[in-house]
């Protein structure tokens, strides 16, 4: 065939907007699925999430909404009214996926629009429900936020400083983790439905999505009875951790997952760093010494003589030449200005009709050689596509 097809063209998705599912809807929409936000009168609450264009809060200025809902369409339906529910049922009978990102267990069931009711209309329908704890179990009705889910998923206990309070990762990563896995689970069910004609309910738990991030902490406990604790702010061992430099910090990883000690020492010697030769001492091959306070401090002193006279960008360039895993602790401004993401065309400039501005935002983090990326379409105004999407139903009912 000649014309390139977007990967998910023809896949039709109804999305109940909410913080638990919006990134899943975005992943689908960015690959060419038709994703329709079903918003209540007055618009979705996600339209009011910070931050805002020019710091002016309002229903049209949310940067988060503009990002998570680009490439989607919008209809307004009052699902609290029978007329709205009739329209939703009629739509669901011809859509492939219903994605409920509200985070509320039983949200659609209570409206008579749950999986059992809709699958009776369309057996191949996939319904993905993303909630804090899953649809069943003793916590199913508990109140949750990102912080609560980070706590119950265990990751919170590993975040923060060794001497301080457990500290969460930036940016509601628990909700985003749930949404990412929701996209995966949805695609698994879609592949199966397209093959067998049978859809299913995909029941995503944000708590469990956080548990996936424990690295190896569950196995540390299960196999060795060691409960891992947070260690932020300290090197894990010599040459593994965050080190200050002239204009910020770098992360250096010369031991552990990779073995780069000799390259590191060679680099520091070639740079004429005082004391670098002492890092050849056999004691540095001993993990007990590397992990001791003395060993970590001794290394930090030697490395600091070098790093404190270099910027993070200079250290990164030099480490690349030495093929060492060292990366700058970048800020968002560094990301936007840096050459790598620019060379890959990662950021996209998207018009923002309500303000007339153009918003530079992350694009898709992978490319598919047979399915070129389409131009990013701005997030819709509330109900922008109601006539297009719902109109034909009304006409059908009248004829």
């Amino acid at each position: 065939m000649s014309a390139a097809l977007s990967a998910l063209s023809g896949l039709r998705v109804l999305e109940i907007p909410g913080p638990y599912g919006q990134y899943a809807g975005k992943l689908l929409a960015d690959q060419g699925a038709e994703v329709v936000l079903v918003e209540p009168p007055g618009g979705a609450a996600t339209r009011r999430a910070a931050p805002y264009v020019a710091d002016e809060p309002g229903p049209d200025t949310s940067l988060a909404f503009a990002y998570y809902n680009a490439n989607k369409r919008s209809i307004v339906l009052d699902l609290d009214a029978e007329e709205g529910r009739v329209a939703f049922r009629a739509l669901a009978a011809s859509y492939d996926v219903v994605l409920d990102g509200s985070g509320v267990v039983g949200n659609l069931d209570a409206l008579g629009l749950g999986y059992d009711q809709l699958s009776a209309l369309r057996p191949e329908l996939v319904m993905t429900v993303v909630t804090p704890f899953g649809t069943d179990g003793p916590y199913a009705d508990h109140q949750a936020t990102d912080l609560v889910l980070m706590a119950l998923g265990g990751l919170l206990g590993l975040g923060g400083y060794a001497d301080g309070i457990p500290t969460r990762a930036y940016g509601d990563q628990a909700l985003l983790a749930a949404a990412q896995f929701a996209a995966v689970g949805t695609m698994l069910a879609v592949l199966q439905a397209e093959r067998t004609g049978r859809g299913q309910l995909v029941d995503v738990s944000a708590q469990e999505a956080v548990v996936m991030a424990h690295e190896n902490a569950v196995q540390w406990y299960a196999l060795e009875h060691v409960d891992r604790r947070r260690n932020g702010g300290e090197a894990r061992q010599a040459a593994v951790g965050v080190y200050p430099c002239r204009d910020g910090h770098v992360y250096l990883l010369a031991k552990g997952l990779g073995v780069f000690w000799d390259e590191l020492v060679g680099w520091l010697e070639a740079e004429g760093v005082e004391g670098a030769a002492s890092l050849r001492d056999p004691k540095w091959k001993d993990d007990a010494y590397n992990s001791s306070d003395e060993g970590k401090a001794e290394f930090a002193t030697i490395f600091g003589r070098f790093a404190m006279n270099r910027t993070k960008a200079e250290l990164y360039e030099a480490a690349k030449r030495a093929r060492l895993p060292l990366c700058p602790v970048n800020t968002p401004a560094d990301l936007i200005a840096g050459p790598q993401l620019a060379a890959r065309g990662y950021f996209v400039d998207v018009p923002h009709p309500p303000t007339g501005r153009t918003l530079r935002m992350p694009g898709t983090p992978f490319t598919l050689s047979a399915c070129p990326r389409a131009e990013t379409v701005p997030a819709p105004s509330p109900g922008a596509h109601t006539a297009d999407v719902v109109g034909p139903l009304t006409l059908g009912a009248q004829s």
Binding site: A50, L63, A144, Y170, F181, N216, V329, I336, L359, L368
Partner: protein, 413 residues
């Protein structure tokens, strides 16, 4: 209705992935029915095979006792082939000729230099789906930079944005991008490509950047910078949408309770439960609570410090306040009632490790055995080379004499 088949039945994956992000990607495919064949070198094994924790706390000189490795490799087959030997490369190409997907998280270009890149794979299987997931993708000036999850966290802003103002930046305390962002996006991309293949017969090359998957999860911070020129830096546990929100000390060693207040009603309930009416009176509105967050945190900490975190969280939840004890990993396995109810942890009987704990996927496909994780969590991680003979015989059609001869020459090592 129960669908008994798995979604990826009939899909074969030739899996070169190692360490963290790659194996978690192909694990998703294996769990859901794909036949995932790990290609390993006996000389240069996946480093996770020799990193702790180990079954019984003892490595015993084995490459088959690491729980770090095992949890990333459920339901896979393990094959050893020497890729430095042309006969080994030839065997792998014959395997690729029967496969649907090739996956790698080596630095992009590594497979090509071994004679196993996309073009070489496409020569034997024109419609192959070929995933490379380099730290920074396969193109651009930094495509060949070596790195790991922690360096990705630094590079992408997660470190800068996580932690406390004025202190050294901290991330999650883990290689976070390896465990959720990179593998979830990679698995999604492969599934999308499988759908495209089914509809058009076309395979394709997937160029995924692990760093970009992480940046895509920091979208609002990127936009605040690109549009407003702002960098808020780290804010600890605080958020625009809640006040107070924090982690407070509780009774016991390193025990904590997380509490979020989203609205005035929850504030009223929290202050009633903790018996601090003076706080309720002093800070009735959200704006007051944001402004006086430090004072409120100090006052709340005094009231939580002697409480059992699980009991207090239950009392707050009963009043509708989002709250939870900070689970330890022992809590997760042994006592969290929700994870137990959901069956999140599966126990698989491993030939060397014995019965051991694995994550199930964080979603239930209710059409697959009603959502019973037993249908998904079937076999433990492979021993090094456990399935070499099986794959050579069953998939490649080699007879025993040929397999013995290849093994004798060191091709299957």
């Amino acid at each position: 209705m129960t669908v008994t088949a798995l979604p990826l039945d009939g899909v074969r994956v030739v899996d070169f992935t190692w360490l963290g992000a790659g194996p978690y990607t192909t694990r998703t495919l294996a769990d859901h029915g794909a036949e995932v064949i790990r290609i390993e070198s006996a000389k240069r094994t996946d480093r996770l095979r020799v990193l702790p924790p180990f079954a019984g706390g003892r490595r015993e000189g084995s490459v088959n006792r690491s729980g770090y490795f095992a949890d990333r490799n459920s339901n896979k087959l393990g094959v050893t082939i020497n890729l430095k030997d042309p006969a080994g490369v030839d065997l792998v190409l014959r395997l690729i000729a029967t496969a649907d997907v090739v996956a790698s998280n080596f630095t992009p270009g590594t497979l090509q230099s071994l004679g196993l890149g996309y073009e070489q794979a496409r020569a034997v299987k024109p419609d192959i789906i070929f995933l490379e997931m380099g730290m920074q993708g396969a193109t651009g000036p930094d495509a060949s930079v070596v790195g790991y999850g922690q360096t990705v966290s630094a590079l992408t802003g997660l470190y800068h944005l996580s932690g406390l103002p004025g202190r050294v930046p901290v991330g999650t305390g883990t290689n976070y991008p390896d465990h959720v962002p990179a593998p979830a996006h990679s698995a999604f991309a492969v599934l999308v490509a499988l759908r495209h293949h089914r509809r058009t017969g076309e395979g394709q090359y997937i160029d995924l950047s692990q760093a970009e998957t992480m940046v895509s999860l920091l979208g609002p911070a990127v936009l605040d910078c690109s549009v407003n020129g702002r960098d808020n830096g780290p804010r600890g546990n605080r958020a625009d949408y809640a006040a107070p929100q924090g982690v407070y000390p509780a009774a016991g060693e390193d025990r904590w309770i997380a509490i979020s207040v989203l609205d005035d009603a929850q504030w009223t309930s929290l202050t009633a439960e903790l018996d601090v009416p003076e706080l309720a009176d002093a800070y009735p509105a959200a704006a007051d609570r944001h402004a006086a967050h430090d004072e409120i945190d100090a006052a709340l900490a005094k009231r939580t410090a002697a409480a059992d975190p699980f009991e207090l969280a239950a009392r707050l939840q009963a009043r509708g306040v989002p709250a939870a004890a900070v689970n330890t990993f022992g809590d997760l396995i042994e006592s969290d009632p929700q994870l137990a109810h959901r069956g999140h942890f599966a126990v698989l009987d491993h030939p060397e490790m014995g019965p051991s704990v694995y994550n199930a996927p964080p979603y239930r496909l209710r059409g697959v055995d009603g959502g019973d994780v037993g249908a998904i969590m079937r076999t433990p991680a492979p021993l090094l080379g456990q399935h070499t003979r099986d794959v050579c015989s069953r998939v490649l059609g080699l007879d025993d004499a040929t397999i013995d001869e290849l093994a004798g020459r060191g091709v299957l090592g």
